[in-house]
């Protein structure tokens, strides 16, 4: 393992709905907090990567942060936008080009399911026009088939959602902070069979910033540097089953999550058994279940027993989505992947308060998945 890049400062703007606060402002607030955490000024940052899908060009924030002339590059990469800003920051420091920089992600989406418009210019949008092109449909179809194939029950879907809201109730930056029982989750409106309203996360708002530095300089900024062991983003291969696909191949291949996970473990030189806490993409509760297996933490089908045994609770064998995940935080696409890393830094520093994973977790894992079939994984160690 190489210890060459460290996270030395973290900042978050609460997730949720914030009338009158632009997405970019939420990103700027997150940067100010991250700088404060690292005991530096904006002018100390040598470069930035900024990600946002729906809330403007991140580099425009220099006009309010300060015109210091730093290199500021914008990243847009679907649901892996935040993760891509992080991997770019990580690689820039690894390359030796700069010593300290920031990855920032923020977003502000309209209410309701993502509006996906795929029409070419001068053509009628047949895909969305016909009532397809909804990300929610993909998640419903994928988990519906998976449940039949591997014996996962609807009760397990409800358990995942209920855990998310319970964890969210212990997180002051979460959007949904009210615990919800399994029965309430099951009884809510059926949106995309077999998934009900409370099994889905909602597009939302929020911002996260992470200050990264060369590991050999990290102690200048913090007593508790957290080392980034690997950061990987993968797109899909031929034959995988992905969101927003008018057709799929007859052949079957693993999705980008499996590829990103394997590559991240290999780069870090460790395996799934070494992970103490994990944040996995939970666009809906079935996604968390499938991603437990796709990331190598169990075999397909074992999730049913793991959930019944409470293995993924905060005090369980493998705590998953300790901050409430996307279900309790919502999904501002540009910020979502960075929120997972923010949570893991808190957990590894021992600063997660009421939701702190016991026994000093040392190694932590994050995973994002989304349109159009892209996945990002990071592995952190204390």
């Amino acid at each position: 393992m190489s210890d060459d890049v460290a996270i030395v400062g973290i900042g978050i703007h609460p997730f949720g709905r914030h009338e009158g606060v632009s997405g970019m402002e939420q990103g700027a607030i997150a940067i100010r907090k991250a700088c404060e955490d690292a005991k530096i000024k904006w002018s100390d940052l040598q470069f930035a990567f900024g990600g946002s899908v729906a809330a403007g060009s991140p580099d425009h924030m220099v006009s309010q942060m300060g015109l210091t002339g730093l290199q500021f590059i914008n990243v847009v990469n679907g649901c892996a936008t935040g993760g891509s800003a992080l991997i770019s920051t990580y690689n820039t420091i690894k390359s030796g080009a700069y010593d300290i920089g920031v990855a920032v992600g923020f977003d502000k989406h309209e209410r309701g399911a993502f509006r996906v418009q795929t029409g070419k210019q001068g053509e009628r949008d047949w895909y969305g026009g016909s009532g397809m092109a909804l990300t929610t449909q993909f998640f419903g179809m994928k988990i519906n088939r998976y449940m039949e194939e591997y014996g996962i029950t609807q009760s397990s879907l409800a358990k995942v959602a209920s855990k998310a809201f319970r964890n969210g109730s212990k997180n002051e930056n979460a959007w949904r902070r009210e615990a919800l029982g399994e029965e309430e989750v099951l009884q809510s409106q059926m949106l995309s069979y077999p998934l009900t309203q409370y099994m889905f996360c909602s597009p939302g708002e929020g911002g996260v910033a992470l200050v990264l530095a060369r590991a050999d300089q990290a102690h200048k900024y913090t007593d508790k540097p957290i080392f980034l062991k690997s950061a990987v983003v993968k797109s899909r291969r031929y034959g995988s089953f992905e969101v927003l696909a008018p057709s799929l191949a007859l052949d079957y291949a693993d999705g980008p999550t499996v590829d990103a996970s394997k590559a991240a473990f290999e780069a870090a030189g460790i395996g799934p058994e070494d992970i103490d806490v994990a944040q996995l993409q939970d666009t809906e509760s079935g996604a968390e279940i499938m991603h437990m297996a796709e990331n190598g933490f169990c075999k397909h089908g074992e999730q049913e027993k793991m959930l019944a045994d409470g293995d993924t609770e905060i005090n369980g064998r493998l705590p998953v989505n300790t901050d409430g995940g996307c279900l309790a935080n919502g999904e501002p696409v540009g910020a979502s992947g960075l929120r997972q890393v923010y949570e893991n830094v808190l957990q590894l520093r021992g600063q997660a308060g009421k939701r702190q994973v016991p026994n000093n977790p040392k190694v932590a894992y994050t995973h994002v998945y989304g349109a159009p079939g892209i996945s990002g994984v990071t592995i952190l160690s204390a």
Binding site: A133, M141, Q189, S192, S247, L248
Partner: protein, 141 residues
């Protein structure tokens, strides 16, 4: 006032029903819908347009339980009048799995592996008052 295809680049509307226009790769035989300029399997750009099959088996499904946003949706988006509809992937032998509306919206009537065939479905009206027709899959008669 008649019936027109929702988009003639992806679907012909014939007296026998909708016919989908896909891509076949002349190098490796792979299929994609709709037509595109290169093959994602073998990377060849030697591809041609072909008509896709009209019958297959249900591979995955869900029920759309809330009105999609309009735009882009051309169907009934008013929550008061909206009716749920099925969405699934149908495996067309030797070609691909195509995503489609389903005529069935009752979960108890949908089973992975069931035989299905393509049918026309009127989704809305165009600017000239023609019925806009898209494709759906129904249980084989």
């Amino acid at each position: 006032m008649g019936q027109v295809s929702i988009n003639e680049n992806v679907m012909d509307l014939t007296p026998d029903g909708p016919r989908l226009k896909g891509m076949r790769c002349n190098n490796c035989g792979n299929h994609v819908f709709p037509m595109q300029s290169g093959c994602p399997k073998c990377t060849s750009d030697d591809v041609e347009e072909v008509q896709l099959g009209t019958q297959g088996t249900l591979w995955a499904w869900t029920i759309q339980g809330f009105p999609p946003k309009a735009p882009p949706y051309l169907g009934e988006a008013n929550p008061e009048k909206f009716e749920a509809y099925g969405v699934g992937y149908i495996e067309l032998p030797g070609q691909l799995k195509v995503e489609s509306r389903l005529t069935i919206s009752d979960p108890s009537l949908l089973k992975i592996g069931m035989e299905m065939e393509i049918v026309p479905e009127t989704i809305g009206m165009d600017e000239e008052g023609n019925e806009l027709v898209t494709f759906a899959f129904a249980p084989s008669a």
